[in-house]
């Protein structure tokens, strides 16, 4: 008698079909072994918006009664495996469904495995993940985050690679044989079967101890009862008195929500070349989230706690290569770029140049036949 559950955290819209394919793949594979299962999305995450973290789950049991017992609660809380389909999600996730930043490993059970698609090293990734009170494992499927649209699914085998890796890290949920059989049934494609097998063989787990990772304590919040809540669904505004910019006449520092940061929505962030910036104000004017802080010397510093990564500032900046969107996974913190630049202009330029020139492309599916084989050959797949 046993039940296994898998949580898939993904980017709303961009990875909805991917998450669905993974969850359905798990249930189909478990069925091959005579188990029964279900796959479902966490309703509270809807409506899915561009890049907003969302969740789907797959639960498989030996018997129908066992499955029902597991499903008779809102969502599985002690998952055997949590899959993050974009490694930027490891920094924590915010959604419509809860308050504050939720650690990516929050719903992972003791000794479970966090399975991530990433081209980063485990050690680098662990640093971005909130500490968990119990040990767990980190397994990486070497791949860039696979993004597509709501209606178009660009098949880069990320689904079957994660499924193959899952069979490796959680054989008690589903065996490799059953998984490969299910993949063959579902897709009728030898290449997909081979991709799953390859991911199974390549996936290694790294144990993560209780003292490893980001030691920031995530925001917690007590929900008030009806006697405490203000009637009429009234929510008081924050004390939003704009502060003067220190050392500068004019401009202001906007008040920002301490709790709702939005940055987990981001898959890319702007990096700014203050040496070429003409202080034209366009980024500051156009940023939909009022992210730009005016600096004492009149520059515009994108606040990385607030930025949702929409790319508008890059689009409106009139100076060539002054604002460049770079993959979020390249960064470990949300520190001020302007402060970095002010302290060490040369060092900043080197950092900026490296980020801009070495930024990996985001995969939106294969562009040409044979790309997968090429990626295997160059070690990126």
């Amino acid at each position: 008698m046993s039940t296994g559950s898998v949580e898939v955290v993904y980017r709303g819209i961009f990875q909805k079909t991917l998450a669905k394919n993974i969850c359905r793949g798990i249930v189909f594979a478990a069925r091959k072994e005579g188990k029964i299962g279900t796959a479902f999305g966490r309703y509270g995450d809807s409506p899915e918006r561009n890049g907003i973290p969302a969740k789907q789950f797959a639960v498989v049991s030996d018997t129908e009664e066992e499955l029902e017992e597991h499903l008779a609660k809102y969502e599985p809380v002690n998952n055997d495996v949590t899959i993050a389909a974009d490694d930027a999600l490891c920094k924590g996730i915010e959604s419509w469904a809860w308050y504050g930043l939720q650690p990516i490993n929050k719903l992972l059970g003791d000794g479970g495995t966090l399975l991530v698609t990433s081209i980063q090293s485990p050690n680098k990734l662990i640093k971005t993940i909130h500490r968990k009170g119990t040990p767990y494992n980190l397994a990486i499927v070497k791949a860039q985050a696979s993004f597509s649209g709501l209606w178009a699914y660009k098949d880069d085998h990320t689904d079957v690679r994660l499924l193959g890796a899952l069979a490796k890290v959680a054989p008690h949920i589903v065996s490799l044989d059953a998984m490969l059989e299910a993949i063959r049934d579902q897709w009728n494609d030898d290449l997909k079967v081979a991709a799953a097998k390859r991911a199974y063989e390549a996936t290694e787990s790294t144990p993560v101890g209780v003292d490893q990772g980001n030691d920031e304590v995530p925001f917690s919040f007590d929900l008030p009862g009806w006697t405490k809540m203000e009637e009429g669904l009234v929510i008081r505004g924050m004390d939003a008195k704009p502060q003067d910019v220190p050392g500068r006449d004019g401009g202001y520092v906007p008040t920002r929500n301490e709790v709702f940061k939005k940055f987990s929505t981001r898959t890319m962030r702007p990096v700014i070349n203050f040496d070429t910036c003409t202080k034209c104000t366009l980024c500051w004017l156009n940023c939909p989230d009022t992210c730009f802080d005016i600096t004492p010397d009149g520059f515009y510093d994108a606040n990385m706690e607030a930025c949702c990564g929409c790319g508008v500032c890059e689009a409106v900046c009139p100076v060539k290569d002054c604002v460049t969107m770079v993959n979020e996974e390249a960064f470990e913190d949300n520190d001020s770029q302007w402060e970095m630049w002010t302290k060490d202009k040369e060092g900043y330029l080197a950092w900026l140049t490296k980020n801009i020139t070495e930024r990996p492309a985001r995969s939106h599916g294969y562009h040409h036949v044979g790309q997968y084989a090429e990626e295997i050959a160059d070690g990126t797949a």
């Binding site: 509270g44 308050y99 929900l223 008030p224 009806w226 009637e231 009234v234 929510i235 008081r236 924050m238």
Partner: protein, 416 residues
């Protein structure tokens, strides 16, 4: 503001406890509601034409153009916008009035459904009308009844005088900070909206002594009071919010009683707040209904009383909050109750009308409850004749004597 000049000769009436003049005018139920808006000094009124509610618009716009009334009068492009506009105006602190009829009320439903949750004390008039298609202008109560479970207070009035008085009471109750819930006053299409009667129209001073200004306090949406109203809440907050609505509706009962007491003191009329009892004292059977049905029923009751039949009539004035206590008090000890619904409840328990089933539920805990027989009559504005009422009373007696199945619903005045 001075009362408007009208063609009707006005006369001053001495009133017990009255603090000013009242003038008698010959006006319809709709015009009475328009006067209530003027007297309550409503700030924002929105309109979109639909019969029979549109008559209120006509009177309001006439008052404005005559210089008797000053308010923002916005003709919206649909009922949906109409109700949305006043909802928002109320949130910023304006006293508002709105209304509609039949499918117009339904077209506004998205706005109606959230008004109570946002604790907007909107007062609305429903000119009750059948839900067409097929086209029908006449009265049915299913339009207003559709909001019965959503936090709206609902009153049904029988006369133009009651329409005016109830509208003033509605503002006082709805805007009471203990309540902050919307209130709809149902006026039967044609029978009330288009029938003129002598109505005592109070002076502005009298109304001012009864109705304090609308003060939304800390809930007022204003740049100096930065708040968000109704953000996305999901399952984490919604149940607590509904619980608050429930508590507010429970409190409404006492606030309504207070308002009627004060109205009685200031205007010398008002009556029992929730129900009207007519020849109930020794009644063996009682007929129950709402709105202008009272007229033929009272005439029929008097006629039957003349023949020695102990028949009474109970008119439900407030449907939400439902007068459970008053109905239990008035109807326990009665042999049988005949409920005349000017609405339908297809597929409901016993296929009965809405009022009949609510009443059955209210009487459930009563010891030896009366039999409750459901009658559907007067749909689409069809006449409920005195003969119909006599027939209904006869069948209610039959139920009392066990010769008629009280768990069936009887359609009266329908061709076979």
């Amino acid at each position: 503001m001075a009362p408007p000049d009208t063609a009707t000769a006005a006369k001053t009436i001495e009133l017990p406890g009255g603090s000013g003049d009242e003038r008698e005018e010959l006006i319809s139920g709709s015009e009475a509601i328009a006067h209530a808006c003027r007297l309550a000094d409503v700030d924002v009124i929105t309109a979109y034409p639909i019969r029979p509610y549109d008559t209120v618009m006509q009177y309001v716009s006439q008052m404005i153009s005559n210089g008797d009334f000053d308010c923002e009068f916005i003709v919206a492009e649909s009922e949906h916008s109409q109700f949305e506009i006043v909802k928002h105006a109320s949130a910023v602190g304006a006293r508002v009035f709105c209304g509609s009829s039949g499918v117009g009320w339904f077209y506004a439903f998205e706005a109606l459904a959230v008004t109570a949750g946002l604790r907007i004390p909107m007062v609305a008039m429903v000119g009750n009308r059948a839900l067409d298609d097929p086209g029908a202008f006449g009265v049915e109560h299913n339009d207003a009844l559709a909001v019965r479970d959503l936090g709206w207070m609902l009153a049904w009035v029988a006369t133009a005088q009651e329409a005016l008085d109830t509208a003033l009471i509605a503002y006082r109750v709805a805007e009471d900070p203990r309540i902050f819930l919307p209130c709809a006053i149902s006026c039967d299409g044609a029978f009330l909206t288009h029938s003129q009667a002598i109505v005592k129209v109070p002076s502005k001073e009298m109304v001012d002594s009864f109705l304090p200004p609308y003060d939304r306090g800390e809930k007022q949406l204003h740049p100096d009071n930065p708040i968000t109203i109704a953000p996305q809440v999901n399952e984490d907050w919604l149940m607590e919010m509904r619980q608050q609505n429930d508590k507010a509706m429970r409190r409404a009962r006492e606030v309504i009683i207070e308002a009627y007491d004060d109205f009685e003191a200031k205007f010398g009329r008002g009556g029992e707040p929730f129900i009207e009892r007519y020849m109930m004292d020794d009644a063996e059977i009682v007929l129950v209904g709402m709105g202008t049905l009272a007229l033929p029923v009272k005439v029929a009751v008097r006629k039957m009383r003349g023949q020695g039949k102990k028949v009474g009539f109970l008119r439900v004035r407030w449907f939400r909050p439902f007068p459970t206590i008053e109905l239990q008090d008035a109807l326990s000890g009665v042999q049988a109750v005949g409920v005349i619904d000017r609405d339908y409840g297809f597929g409901s328990p016993f296929h009965s009308g809405v009022l009949a089933n609510e009443l059955r539920s209210a009487l459930y805990p009563v010891e030896n409850p009366p039999k409750v027989v459901s009658f559907i009559a007067g749909l689409g504005g069809r006449e409920v004749s005195i003969d119909n009422v006599v027939e209904i009373a006869g069948m209610t007696y039959d139920a009392a004597n066990d010769s008629l199945d009280d768990q069936d619903t009887h359609w009266i005045g329908v061709r076979e």
